[in-house]
Symmetry: C2
Subunit: 246 residues, 2 copies
């Protein structure tokens, strides 16, 4: 006959696992939403874009599920030490993933506002490169979360520098196009916000990397994240200082 | 002689109060940072802008204090029902306030990138009006949090519509200026991001209003937040539907 303590412990582990499962499901959906948004952008596929916008709701629902389950675990199980860190971290990760989903949906939302045929292949291929780099980071932080692998988390955290550099170069290119042909200004501004949205998905992914590190070690990553966004003034800060998510 | 139960209860209340005090301190700082950022923008005061960027760190530290205290309360006190909602809500509110601080600092960071004398008084006065409207919302959500007044929270939640409308009109005006004089494109893009940052501070304030409502009632606000940002396609959504924070 199973004893009661075993049962309680097992059930607690089950609940923690369930929390992890929902987070992985959310992460996978965010990855897919981002990938589809890039595809829809390249092919100017308005139907696909509309689907992405619709699907965002599913991520929001999962975020609410995480909150409810986490609060339930806190109330009924009163976890301690690493278990407590894991539950509190899941709230943070879920809220980052929810925002990442919003950004992917915002990319999709802007697609119909772009000129039907985007003739400037160079900008689109730059955005696509940036999207792929961010997808890789998202994949890495998800792996680091699933395997509690902080080396992988640190790797993802550092990869974001490449994304910032790509963003800076897209920003400059768009500025040039707008000046060369004022008829492109409206479209270019939407492309600028699309680039910013993708960059922010990367920023939130590095937040998750930091949370995974904290969840495993109980301490924060030392040092500042390398940063290469030079589109705004660095007068106040060393260029290697992390620009906070804004 | 005080009995032990009283002592424990009092000490728990003290910890909850302390959590509230830190949040109010954060909120007051965010309000002040936003106000200063608008002032620095109007007067092109680079020294003040640099101070705002420096001060943001203090808000980040308070956010970490909230997280640590909340986790401590969860671990040691195992609060139930409304107390538990209050602790979990404080984590959410703190993270919103931290982001609002980031946005205010990002407004300040962009000031040196603007032309020294911003000749276009109309845009600046539009931004200033938007800043004041957002300040009012922030004030209202702070009041609603302090007094657990959900009427005030709902009022703040609805006020954000005005901010979105101001943002839309600034967006359109900036577009016109860029087309009229390509030399203004660089500056106008920074002003566009400044407007977006201020709008986002308002969005996060409405998040806090939602959290206060949930904290008090244990249920979510019914209905969608009214939304008037028409700068991006509404093809997929009714214009009154809330556009998610992006």
């Amino acid at each position: 006959m199973p004893n009661l303590t075993d049962h309680i412990v097992k059930s607690f582990d089950d609940q923690l696992k369930q929390l992890g499962t929902i987070l992985v499901q959310m992460g996978t959906m965010v990855e897919s939403q981002l990938q589809q948004a890039i595809e829809a952008l390249i092919s100017h596929n308005l139907k696909q874009a509309a689907q992405i916008v619709d699907q965002d709701h599913q991520i929001d629902v999962l975020d609410q599920n995480v909150s409810q389950l986490a609060v339930k675990i806190l109330a009924l199980r009163q976890p301690m030490a690493q278990d407590l860190r894991e539950v509190v971290s899941s709230l943070k990760i879920s809220s980052d993933l929810e925002r990442m989903g919003d950004y992917a949906a915002n990319v999709a939302k802007r697609i119909p506002a772009l000129p039907e045929i985007i003739t400037n292949k160079q900008i689109i291929s730059g955005l696509s490169r940036m999207g792929k780099a961010v997808q890789q980071i998202v994949k890495n932080v998800l792996d680091s979360y699933i395997n509690k692998n902080t080396d992988r988390a640190l790797q993802a955290w550092r990869q974001d520098e490449e994304v910032d550099a790509l963003y800076t170069s897209i920003f400059r290119e768009l500025l040039t196009y707008m000046m060369e042909d004022i008829r492109t200004i409206g479209g270019c501004i939407h492309l600028l916000f699309i680039a910013k949205n993708i960059e922010r998905i990367g920023d939130h992914a590095t937040n998750i990397a930091e949370t995974v590190y904290f969840m495993v070690h109980g301490s924060h990553i030392q040092g500042e994240r390398p940063k290469s966004d030079h589109t705004i003034s660095n007068a106040y800060s060393n260029p290697t200082t992390k620009e906070k998510l804004t």
